[in-house]
């Protein structure tokens, strides 16, 4: 233990899926109350709150949550960082603890997306009956999404996977579909996943094509859900009960990066370099190597994305993501199990909750509490998210000694 270590004391994710009768505040409240109970603390003990909700719930979510669970007057940071919002909230709370502002912090992410359909970039209405008027940063006279490439997420990430294939070879529609087959197979053991149905390769490839090579089951599932985590300083943890100390999970690394300038990043987001940079910093901070990881939850927003992140997170040698996957390494019984929760394709992707929910998954295994899907003897795990724009969060977690 080092003096500036921070630990996850309590953590919870709600069931992901459809919650038609509950709003974002209800879901965030459920996650928060359960995370506090899991950590054996109360809202009055918490010194800082960081909260995120990206798409359309009532705001400010942090203060609305306080009104449900306790208005103690502590500082609230409402954060927004695309799909990395949850990880950003967690890191904000961790930074406050490391800065010495308080000993206990709370991070919450929540989203309601069930039935949201296709998520695309900012679009504008066509005005073809009027006169063409150049607008926006490109002086466009009509919407450019679909006319100048695509801004839809399935299409953007399809190109990211295809680009990897162009660079290193070995990719195919079937290969990407087999990644999805793995994650859907994993989901059958996760009762909190939105979808827990195993698909055959033929079913995945034969499903509705969204953006080649991503068919519908190869895309992250829009759903409702929330996740919350209570973090504690090492100093405070030492004063707590043996059971709290035993179940606490060490945050061995908490890293957030953005995309540095590279040629082409203005036309196709580069999700590679910022992930590699975050992973490098995280491995160095934690003093662990990729081969030490017992499980990885990475941002498989699309099947095409999972492949490139094997390489970006250095789970394999550069350019070797295809043979790495083909070796079976990333199945739950493989050398580096990836997305044993089912990943975003089946567990679901309630955007702002995702970056805390994947930490919950890793903690669940490190605590030995993952039930049927427990990875045996899990000691170290990594959680990764990407928010387009871009932001990358990487957390490395270690079981209490």
């Amino acid at each position: 233990m080092a003096a500036d270590d921070v630990w996850i004391l309590g953590i919870h994710m709600t069931k992901f899926g459809k919650h038609p009768d509950r709003d974002t505040v209800d879901l965030a409240t459920e996650a928060t109350m359960a995370a506090l109970a899991d950590g054996g603390v109360a809202m009055r003990d918490i010194g800082v709150l960081a909260a995120g909700n990206l798409w359309g719930g009532p705001a400010p979510i942090g203060q609305l949550l306080q009104k449900q669970v306790g208005q103690t007057g502590i500082p609230v940071y409402n954060v927004s960082n695309a799909c990395a919002t949850g990880a950003t909230a967690l890191r904000t709370a961790i930074m406050a603890l490391r800065a010495g502002e308080c000993d206990l912090g709370l991070a919450v992410g929540v989203e309601k997306l069930a039935g949201a359909g296709l998520l695309a970039g900012a679009n504008r209405k066509s005005d073809e009956n009027e006169s063409w008027t150049p607008r926006g940063r490109f002086g466009a006279v009509a919407p450019i999404d679909g006319r100048i490439g695509t801004e839809t997420m399935p299409g953007v990430f399809a190109q990211i996977g295809m680009e990897y294939g162009h660079r290193y070879g070995g990719t195919s529609f079937e290969l990407f579909a087999r990644i999805s087959e793995k994650n859907h197979a994993h989901s059958t053991l996760n009762p909190l996943a939105t979808y827990t149905k195993r698909f055959t390769l033929e079913e995945i490839m034969g499903d509705v094509m969204i953006a080649y090579p991503n068919t519908r089951p190869m895309c992250s599932a829009n759903c409702d859900g929330a996740a919350a985590a209570v973090v504690v300083t090492d100093r405070k943890l030492r004063t707590m009960d043996p059971d709290q100390r035993r179940r606490a999970v060490k945050v061995a690394a908490s890293v957030l990066t953005t995309d540095p300038w590279e040629e082409a990043c203005q036309v196709l987001p580069n999700v590679n370099t910022l992930t590699r940079n975050a992973a490098q910093q995280a491995y160095e901070a934690a003093g662990v190597a990729p081969e030490d990881l017992d499980l990885v939850e990475l941002h498989d927003c699309f099947a095409t994305a999972e492949l490139v992140h094997y390489d970006n997170l250095m789970l394999c040698a550069p350019g070797e993501a295809v043979p790495f996957f083909e070796s079976g390494a990333t199945w739950r019984d493989g050398a580096t199990p990836v997305n044993v929760s089912g990943g975003l394709q089946s567990k679901g992707h309630p955007i702002a909750a995702t970056g805390i929910a994947n930490i919950w998954e890793v903690c669940h295994h490190l605590r030995g509490e993952a039930g049927d899907r427990q990875i045996p003897d899990a000691n170290v795990g990594l959680a990764h998210v990407i928010g387009l724009g871009s932001a990358c969060g990487v957390h490395i977690l270690e079981k209490a000694a």
Partner: protein, 141 residues
């Protein structure tokens, strides 16, 4: 000839010689299609306007089957490497199938009609078409 307007301001329609323009950083050569105050790569604040090559190679593509209302599907969205400058564009004048579109395919810029407004002005966009347009009957693999 009716009046025309480019879909975006970085498309130059010059009669018979359509091409794209970019703002190039005088310091490091980074290129941007939109305006920047300082270069994302080096921080330099001097830019010059340069012409982008009209031929290139498809570096990544997808065939979009689900898109915003009003966009005909399926269509091929791509990133084209135009002599070192990456351009986002649709690949046009090709069957939108994985058999007809290939990574590494050589393509060239062409203009594409977008529509005519109430005043009779035609908006013109751009895409890239295969340099050696494979005929459907030949398969083109």
């Amino acid at each position: 000839m009716s009046e025309q307007i480019p879909l975006v301001d970085y498309l130059v329609l010059d009669d018979g010689d359509p091409h794209l323009m970019a703002h190039e950083c005088a310091g490091c050569g980074a290129r941007f299609f939109d305006r920047r105050n300082a270069c994302g790569g080096c921080g330099g604040a001097e830019f010059e306007t340069v012409r982008v090559a009209t031929e290139g190679e498809v570096r990544a593509f997808t065939i979009v089957s689900l898109a915003a209302p009003g966009i005909p599907v399926p269509f091929v969205a791509s990133v084209v490497d135009c002599d070192g400058t990456s351009v986002r564009a649709n690949v046009v004048n090709v069957d939108p199938t994985p058999e007809q579109v290939r990574l590494g395919m050589k393509v060239r810029l062409v203009t594409v009609p977008v529509g005519v407004d109430g005043g009779g002005v035609e908006a013109v966009g751009f895409g890239f078409e295969p340099v050696d347009a494979p005929s459907v009957s030949e398969g083109g693999r």
